[in-house]
Amino acid sequence: MAHHGNHKEEHHHVTPLEIFHKVFIALIGLTVLTVVTSLYDFGMMNMVVAMAIASLKAALVIMFFMQLKYDNILNQLCMISAILFVAIFILITASDVIVRDNGRPMRIEKAAQGGDDPALMNKLRAVTDDQVAKGKVLYANNCASCHGATGGGDGPGAAALNPKPRNFLSGEWKYGSSPTRIFTTITNGVKGTGMSSYSGMSVEERYALVHYVRSISPQKSDDSAEDLKAAGLDGDFSKFKPKQMVDVGIVMENMAQVDQVELPQDRQKFSDHPGAKLYAQHCASCHGLSGQGAKVTAVGVNPPIALYTTSWNGLQAGWIQDSSAFKKIVSEGLTGWGKPGIGHFNSDEWSQLYSYARALSGR
């Protein structure tokens, strides 16, 4: 077999050595450039700048050190196909992983904060001094135990926690520092940490906390378009629907079944008591007509939750022996018990109500 095909040009390409030196100097220059640019923050462009410089360096190595510039088309095709298929690999994988992952937290956030009115959230996003002040109080009561009184992440609870609670003074943020992101963190809590979900607080309270926490942090960012989208705050809010945990029909049915308990016979005697009317007006809706306790469906709370009041029958409570304690509880309410404060009774009414309540408890 004398000849195989088409090798017309049977000599090696010889590159002048000074080209190698020049290319090397260019490569060093680009390396310095990429280190220098890394000292500045271009935000999203960091990646683009760094990759552009790296690609330029790569092109120099490929073209001159590897001499692909002077090589035959087949070897050039090899390099091109490698780049092409790596691009396919990255882009198509990204079409799932990145799209899916942007979608995923969004779905969970929306599910968790579901009932929060985006219009209200949108309004409260803007910081006011009033909110910061309100937030400060809420912070002291709810957060300082772990995050520390000054926000240093060094509250007494912190010792026992792993991972450690956020230090607001460091300026480092894990789940973003924009108002909506912090709001989301407060609403959902952080799985696997001591940070519970505080979705029980009202939107106002949560935003008050957000603004207070931001006020003490040295570094924070504003809501990006992405944040707003993730929280469902982009676009029009007219489509807003409160979250439905339960099929509407079932909920309505539950609510229709508010316990209608007849007054027991042995309590009937109190019905002519002077305090009975006041009690029926102000208390019976939750505590039952005879103080027997009831399941109360709190309407207007999303999701609808049921509260239970305890039976007063045989109750051992401080107020039973102490009218001033009774007055204090009724007028100021019980923090944390869902008991609203009811005031504006005159002294006669107070004594009537107290005596009736004592009677219901069997005294």
Binding site: M1, A2, H3, H4, H7, E10, H11, H12, V14, T15, L17, F20, H21, V23, F24, L27, I28, T31, T34, V35, S38, N46, M47, A50, M51, I53, A54, K57, A58, V61, I62, F64, F65, M66, D71, N72, L74, N75, C78, M79, S81, A82, I83, F85, V86, F89, I90, T93, A94, V97, I98, D101, P163, K164, R166, E172, W173, K174, G176
Partner: protein, 221 residues
Amino acid sequence: MSGHHEVHYVEGTKHAIPHHFNSGYHEFDASKMGMWVFLVNEILLFSALFVAYAMFRAKDPVMFHEASHQLNKWMGGLNTIVLLFSSLTMALSVGYLQRNNTKRASQMLILTFLCAATFMVVKYFEYSHKFHAGLLTAKFYTFEGISAGHPGLFFSLYFMMTGLHGLHVLIGMGVIAWVWWRTRRGDFNEHYFTPVEVTALYWHLVDLVWIFLFPLLYLIG
């Protein structure tokens, strides 16, 4: 067709041209293409790690940013320059062989080998620092200085990428030592230097991978 027992040598060397090739250049050409196809395969091999990097970075850029601060960018930069220089010396050694300057070529190969060794020594210091600090792969990660996300993932990527790259450097050192030995023995001249040429292609690819690893891991995180 001449008898198949006849053996042809490349001009001025003891290299016998295998019977299925027409000429020394034919063999060189085929070998070079073989190396290029192999490099395609190498690029795709590394690409899986780059894809993993891209996906995890897109998921949690804050963590990548924080975690990358734990890498020493001056050591990374030093290694970059060392590798670029070794690429230069490797290219020069091929250039000198093409000019039949075997002596300079073998000097350049020694320089390349030393650069590779320097790279690995720097890498050793970097790794031992990571081991002591508990900056290990996700499951064994114990460092406490990074609060965001799963920083173990970044260091898993770091070790996988630099580890695979380091493995390539070690293999490259072996091959470079071998071609240096053959160069010194006088196996190569301007007509036959295929092993050095394909080694050079491989070595440039090692450099190429590092050109991307350096900014991705050390600079922008």
